[in-house]
Amino acid sequence: MCDTCGCNLTPGNKHLAFKPVAKGATAVSVLKGLLAKNDDQAGHNREHFDRRGILAINLMSSPGSGKTALLEATLVALKDEFTCAVIEGDLETENDAERIRAKGVQAHQIVTGTACHLDAHLVHDALHHMTLEGVDLLFIENVGNLVCPASFDLGQHLNVTLLSVTEGDDKPAKYPVMFRAADAMLLTKTDLLAVLDDFDPDKAETHLRNLANPAPVMRLSARKDMGMDAWLTWLREQLTAQRARVAIGQSRRPAIQSDGMKYHKATA
C-alpha cells in the first residue's frame, strides 16, 4: 500500500477518489489520514518504547480531575517495583513536573504555550531530554482537556481517561470522542461521593458502554488511598502484557485508533 500510485484504492472507496473534472485539470486521489505526519512520528515514538520494553500510558481528563495526584500516589506505591518516568503537558509552569520530581521520579515538563494538546512531535522532543534506559513505565500526562488530546496519537500503548466525581456522570456522553478512546476509565475522588448526591458511578459506566467501549472502570481516591489496588494491579498486568508483546516483536496502539484503522483498510 502506498499513497502515490493509487493502490490504496479498493472497490469500496473508489467512488470517493474519482470524479469527473474539467478539461485541463486533474484530480489526484490521496485517501490518506489527515494526521499522517503525526501518526508516523507516533509510530516512531512507539518503536523507541518497544525497543526498551517500556509501557507508555497517556493520561487524559478535564483540568483538575486529579491526574497529577493519581500519579503521585501511583509512583510512591510502585517505587520499589518499577522504574517510572513522567512527561507532563501544560500550557504553562513547571509545577506538575516539580511535584513528580519531589517523589524522586524523573519528569520532563512540556510547556505548550497556547496549544491545547500534546502531539507526537512534542513527545518526541521531550524524549530527547530524558533517560529511557531502565524505565519500565512512562506516564504522559496530557493537557487537561476533554476534546483535543483525543485526536492525536503520541505513540502511547494505552489511553487512561479520568473522570472525577465532582464532574457530571454524563461526561462520556458529552465528550464521546475522548471516552471512546479510553482503554481504562478511572472514576477519581470517590471519597467525595459521600457528600455528593448527583454523581452516580453506575450511570457513568453506562454512558461509557453506550460508546461501545468495553474498557474497565475503576473507582478510586488517590488522596485517601481508596481503590488504588485495582488500578495498580491493572498497571502490573498491562506491563506484563507489554513485555510479552515485545518478546514476540509486537506492539499495541490504543484500542480505538488501531481497530478503526485496521477495519477501514480491510473493508473501506
Binding site: 470517493l16 477518489a17 489527515l34 491545547c116 492525536f152 453506550n210 460508546l211
Partner: protein, 128 residues
Amino acid sequence: MHELAVAQALVEQVDAVMGQHQARHDHDASSSDAWRATAIRVRIGPLAGVVPELLATAFPLAAAGRRMEHAALEFTHAPIQVRCQTCGAETEAAMNRLLCGACGDWHTQVISGDDLLLESVELETTPS
C-alpha cells in the same frame, strides 16, 4: 482549537501531493507548467473530533502564501455506522450512543464516522 494543527497538517499533505504530481509531470512532458490546487476534498466523521466549520476557518490561515491558498476546501460527510458483533447488523448510530440499531447491544464496532481523510486534490495547470 486543535483544528489549526489539523489545518497545518492538511496544508503539508496537499503540498506533498502537489510536489509528487509536479515531479511526475516534469518527467512525462517537457512542459514546466505550474500546477495549482483548485479544490481539496476531505472526509471527516463526527467521531474524528474535528469540526469541519472550524477547519474551514483555520485553513486560510494555515495556507496563506502557499500554492493551495486559493483552493476550495470541500467536505464529505461520513455518517456514523456501527457493525454489531452480536447480531451482525450494520446500522446508523448517534455520536454518543454507538449501540446496535437492530438488537440494542453495545458490543459494536464503528465502521464509518471516525474518518479523518484527505480524499483528493484537484489540480489545474497555469501555463507559464
